[in-house]
């Protein structure tokens, strides 16, 4: 058949029309639509049996009870445990994002050894046997050389069996250098020791307080137990309790408070003394407590009356005299007033004088060990363990002074002062550090003056990290023996952070280990076994679970059954028994300290006259700033007035910004004595003029693309300032200037 143009055309047209009349185009159209409804690159979560596992979240210090929904072997949702005494069903944004940590891309999948430069993030995989023998060999050599004290260990939490086991390991090994990352609890411990004479921890009966003076504490932004504190705040709304928030910035806590009292940063302690002045001067204090159960009141009274009149205090703090007087009268006349401190989330302790000044207010109104007051609480103890066995090298090592100077003649009351380690290592005093063990801590990111911390870490020849995620400090390590993630492991979680009942939670594995990782407790037991001798003898358990059961033996059954143990009936000691000081009374004179020096304000770093502003860091409840980096969900809920693209916005009062020539969103360079950073300006009517406020927790160099390289780490710009009276980190900010980019 001859095909000419016409018949070809006819065939084409006929074919097209014919095809259109068949079901084919419709079928194709339908199939395409179905295909778009199940694109192979869009995940399709498989179903399975639904189960719930109770545990405790250890991502933040709160230690909230959680219940994890599982579908088959997958954990799919973390919710607050409704019957858990502290959080009662609530959950914080960080712990609710916990599965992003468990399944996240920054998990360290196996033991590994550094390859190339420190911090280059290049590693070679090791087997567990290799890794443990390498570490044991390293530590063994140091011990053999008679220098066990040169090994230090840093943990985030001070309480619980893991810190206790680490401390025990260090003790048996022969090093006094077990430390935890500093926090306001160190300062409160010291306050308790020096004013109450109690070696314990501070607790606050917040739900029964009816008038709260908060000296910069971010009560609903992560101070203490986050969820518990937010619940308390709601309760205060229901009971019409009054909250007065004293801080330079309109934080969320200030926004929710009945009154926000802006104050010049770093002068909170001075205001407390001013309030004390009015209370004393107007004889508003609790006579019974002051006259019968306290000592040193005359010294305290003299110190306060000599320099802290409302006029003086007003000049130093920027708070009106009338406000000072009003606060004093309201506080003293309230039924159950309570004064609190610890700036923001309390991640930096602050000067000891501040704590004394603030806590003295509680004492003046007699709200000590009373309902709605400040309570001296016993420390959680590991009562199921026997004493470690010490050999001669261990005894010798333990007799050496600590690296951080805690307990030395200069700082006799300090438990630990990790903030002093960078300075000590730089000075080479009292001895160099040859090895550092890091557990659940990320000091390179979370400590003020991260530059100094980096220098210090560089000086340590051997760093062992137990990190489960690749954080900044883990990146500096020589060997990583990765811990299980928080949802894969057993752990006891004592509830502390100002909670007013003795309480213990039990975290249990929710899912099987996802990677070739090991519980740090087991790793430590294997290390001890490899070291042999008395170290092995002191850590004799077969595995961590056995060790944990033994540590918690009196309460194990209850813990396993209910997931927590609490002493609901705990009441603090009566005033007559409460103060094991020399006088047997509450000590206003702070165990003979020089009150005048103690109360002096800590000057910020770098006062050379070239800076016209002050930079203050602030803690945001939406940004994790401690050992754990913000998971993607957390970064997602950060306001675009805090982080835009990869640039952080700093808050500046509109008046201050205008004077410096900045408008909303303008780019700027923030300069401090420690360095420069590119930022944008956010005009905020909620900040005192003359200040720049920057959130903590941004500027990570480790972690994934959702978090890394976003914003600036405030700790790079703000150094650590030592409180001469206590050795604590008294940093509250730094001098700064904003210049055009």
């Amino acid at each position: 058949m001859k095909i000419d143009r016409r018949s070809f055309l006819a065939m084409s047209v006929g074919g097209a029309v014919g095809t259109a009349l068949t079901p084919l185009p419709w079928k194709i159209q339908d199939d395409l639509a179905i295909w778009t409804q199940m694109w192979p690159w869009t995940p399709f979560p498989p179903d399975g049996e639904n189960t719930y596992v109770n545990s405790v979240s250890t991502l933040c210090g709160g230690g909230c009870g959680i219940t994890v929904r599982k579908v088959g072997e997958r954990a799919v949702k973390i919710e607050g445990r409704e019957d858990y005494p502290t959080n009662q069903g609530g959950i914080c944004n960080l712990c609710a994002s916990g599965l992003q940590m468990l399944y996240g891309p920054t998990r360290i999948p196996y033991p590994m050894k550094r390859l190339g430069e420190r911090g280059a993030n290049q590693w070679v995989r090791l087997s567990w046997e290799e890794a443990i023998s390498m570490v044991a060999e390293q530590l063994g050599e140091i011990r053999q050389a008679g220098q066990p004290e040169t090994v230090a260990c840093l943990s985030t939490r001070p309480y619980g069996s893991m810190p206790a086991l680490l401390k025990r390991f260090m003790t048996a090994y022969g090093s006094p250098n077990f430390m935890t990352t500093p926090s306001m609890m160190d300062a409160y411990d010291m306050t308790l020791k020096r004013m109450h004479g109690v070696d314990g921890r501070m607790g606050f009966d917040l739900e029964n307080a009816d008038y709260v003076l908060s000296f910069g504490s971010g009560l609903i932004e992560g101070w203490g137990n986050t969820v518990h504190m937010i619940r308390i705040n709601s309760k205060w709304k229901d009971t019409n309790a009054v909250l007065k928030q004293i801080e330079p910035r309109l934080s969320n806590t200030a926004a929710k408070a009945d009154q926000w009292i802006p104050i010049l940063p770093g002068t909170e302690g001075i205001l407390a003394l001013g309030i004390g002045y009015v209370i004393i001067k107007e004889s508003l204090y609790d006579y019974d407590f002051v006259n019968n159960f306290s000592a040193g009141f005359d010294e305290f009274r003299r110190a306060v009356l000599s320099g802290y009149s409302p006029g003086n205090v007003s000049k130093q703090t920027g708070v009106d005299q009338s406000t000072i007087v009003a606060l004093a009268r309201e506080f003293a006349r309230a039924r159950r007033p309570l004064a609190l401190c610890g700036r923001g989330q309390g991640t930096v302790p602050g000067g000891f004088g501040e704590y004394v000044a603030v806590h003295a207010l509680n004492a003046l109104v007699g709200n000590i060990n009373r309902p709605g007051g400040a309570w001296a609480m016993p420390r959680p103890e590991m009562d199921g363990w026997l004493e470690p066995v010490l050999d001669a090298p261990a005894e010798a090592g333990l007799a050496k002074p600590r690296l951080d100077g805690a307990g030395s003649a200069a700082f006799p009351f300090a438990g630990q002062l990790f903030n002093r380690v960078p300075v000590a290592l730089k000075a080479g005093e009292p001895y160099p550090c040859q090895a550092l063990l890091v557990y659940d801590a990320n000091p390179l990111f979370s400590m003020p003056g991260s530059g100094m911390v980096r220098e210090a870490l560089q000086q340590i020849p051997f760093i062992l990290s137990f990190a489960s995620h690749m954080d900044e400090t883990a990146m500096m390590a020589d060997i990583i023996l990765p811990n299980l993630s928080h949802l894969e492991r057993w752990e006891d979680v004592p509830v502390t952070e100002g909670f007013h009942r003795p309480m213990l939670g039990l975290a249990q594995p929710v899912v099987d280990p996802q990677f070739d990782t090991l519980h740090a407790g087991d790793t430590l037991l294997q290390l001890a076994a490899a070291l042999g001798g008395t170290v092995a003898a002191s850590l004799p358990w077969e595995n961590y679970e056995a060790c944990l059961k033994e540590a918690l033996s009196p309460r194990w059954a209850e813990l396993e059954d209910r997931g927590y143990w609490i002493d609901e009936n705990f009441t603090p000691d009566d005033w007559s028994l409460a103060f094991p000081t020399v006088s047997g009374k509450f000590d206003f004179a702070v165990s003979g300290a020089d009150l005048k020096t103690l109360f002096a304000m800590t000057a910020p770093q770098g006062d050379d006259g070239s800076y016209n502003l002050k930079l203050i860091p602030y803690d945001s409840v939406r940004i994790a700033n401690g050992a754990v980096g913000s998971p993607p969900f957390l970064i997602k809920i950060v306001s675009d007035k805090v982080l835009k693209g990869k640039t952080v916005l700093v808050e500046v009062n509109p008046e201050t910004a205008r004077a410096a020539g900045f408008g909303e969103g303008d780019q700027a360079v923030l300069k401090t004595p420690l360095g420069d950073a590119a930022v944008r300006v956010h005009l905020s009517d909620g900040l005192m003029p003359g200040l720049v406020a920057m959130p903590r927790g941004l500027g990570h160099t480790a972690y994934d693309r959702y978090l890394a390289q976003k914003g600036v780490n405030a700790n790079d710009l703000i150094g650590s300032v030592e409180d001469t009276a206590s050795g604590l980190d008294a940093t509250w900010g730094i001098l700064a200037s904003l210049v055009k980019a």
């Binding site: 159209q29 395409l32 639509a33 295909w35 778009t36 409804q37």
Partner: protein, 440 residues
């Protein structure tokens, strides 16, 4: 070489020049196609749209070309139903422009939706309460009608016409054209109206919301009315541009004047209605929803009262008065100016009803949403313009679009030969890319 296809009695530029023109516009078209492919394969993240600005440049272009394409249905209505026979001299071009506008609108919609492969769900799972469903049905149906109206024109091509079947088909179709024109006008009335309804029913958006007559908000009628009024202006404007580019008169003045006069009166009545609507909305509707006129025009860098002035007075009242004034209308330059203002006016109206609606905050603590299009959006919006120019070029070259062309431009034998020889002096058909008809 393509002389066999060129209509008898008219002259066209040499094929190389035509091809060159096609090439230049084709390059722009390809750029648009590239952007379109990016949008299809990578998704709408290629645009600058966001959750506040879900309707943006494309939807505006869509509404604008449909309004501008309104010349087709209204001229058809006038010629075939009302019997203004004079308009037969421009109806072909009106239909062609309408066809281009509507096919462009459909193409834009196919890019605009997030799941183009599912877009037929609008028919399959139709929600009869949705104005958009009404739009989709009427738009598709009317596009079919326009195609039917356009087909006889194609069939009139010299070569096709030689085929007896085609000749008869075309003849028969012409016979029934009045039916299609009436259907088209009916469908247009509804989809133009429902496009207006798209904004007018948004009772969550006080800036757009209007009171209803039965089930239709006032914008329903205003949109139909404005399309009927402004659409012919666009037909006139494109005709004028084509005449400028080809450097010959293609439609007699009587036809132009008639259409201009009708458009003028339509605009005049429309703008009165629009003013009443605006006043009622500003003084009654918006306040009843908790808003004042100031809320819609202040506290942002772009949207001010100037828009109201530009849309209603400068590009509404002014061109309407110009067109109904015979003296002004009969001046070619002023007529063109009036049509330009009118085209801007209706485009601005559609802009306001889409983009400003998205920009205005409703919750008191919300923000004005500002937006500018990405290059992909611009390219895909220019794509139909290029496509339209190409279709006009081809249609003009090979189809007897303008019945009066031969009469108005009698061929001289030598000129014919010159054209065949390809001298440049007599060939001027290629539009420059910069001189594109302002369709979008």
């Amino acid at each position: 070489m393509d002389s066999a296809l060129i209509p008898k009695g008219v002259k066209r530029c040499p094929i190389w020049q035509f091809a060159l023109g096609l090439g230049v516009v084709g390059a722009v078209l390809l750029w648009g196609v590239y952007a379109m492919i990016l949008c299809w394969f990578k998704g709408l993240n290629q645009t600058n749209m966001n959750d506040y600005y879900g309707f943006a440049l494309w939807i505006w272009a869509d509404l604008a070309v449909i309004a501008l394409g309104g010349g087709a249905f209204f001229t058809g209505l006038l010629k075939y139903v009302i019997g203004k026979d004079e308009l037969k001299n421009i109806i072909n071009y009106a239909v062609l422009i309408g066809f281009i506008c509507y096919s462009s609108a459909l193409l834009i919609l196919a890019i605009d939706v997030g799941q183009p492969l599912r877009s037929w769900f609008i028919f399959w799972h139709a929600n009869v309460h949705s104005m958009l469903t009404e739009v989709a049905f009427c738009l598709s149906c009317y596009f079919c009608v326009l195609t039917i109206e356009y087909i006889p024109l194609i069939l009139e091509n010299r070569q096709l016409d030689k085929v007896p079947f085609v000749h008869n088909l075309s003849h028969t179709m012409h016979e029934y054209m009045a039916v299609f024109a009436a259907t088209g006008a009916f469908l247009s009335f509804f989809h133009q109206g429902s496009l207006g309804g798209v904004a007018g029913v948004l009772f969550g958006r006080p800036f757009a919301y209007r009171e209803h007559l039965f089930i239709w908000p006032w914008t329903f009628f205003l949109f139909t009315w404005s399309a009927a009024a402004y659409g012919p202006c666009f037909t006139l404007l494109v005709t004028r541009i084509t005449e400028k580019i080809t450097r010959k008169q293609l439609v007699k003045d009587t036809t132009i004047q008639l259409l201009a006069k009708i458009a003028g009166w339509m605009m005049f009545t429309y703008i009165i209605a629009k003013i009443i609507d605006t006043v009622y909305w500003a003084t009654t509707t918006a306040p009843s929803l908790g808003f004042t006129l100031k809320d819609f025009y202040s506290n942002n860098p772009v949207y001010g009262y100037w828009i109201l002035f530009a849309e209603i007075v400068l590009c509404g009242v002014v061109p309407a008065l110009m067109l109904i004034t015979p003296k002004i209308r009969s001046n070619r330059l002023l007529l063109t100016l009036a049509t330009i203002l009118a085209v801007i006016g209706v485009s601005l109206n559609r802009w306001v009803m889409v983009l400003q609606v998205m920009a205005v905050p409703v919750m008191s603590f919300d923000i004005w949403a500002m937006y500018y299009p990405s290059w992909q959006e611009v390219a895909t919006t220019i794509l139909p313009v290029a496509y339209g120019i190409i279709l006009i070029m081809i249609s003009y070259r090979y189809l007897p679009i303008f019945p009066q062309e031969a009469e108005l431009n009698p061929l001289e034998p030598e000129a014919d030969m010159a054209a065949a020889a390809g001298t440049e002096e007599t060939t001027e058909e290629v539009p420059e890319p910069g001189l594109t008809p302002a369709e979008a």
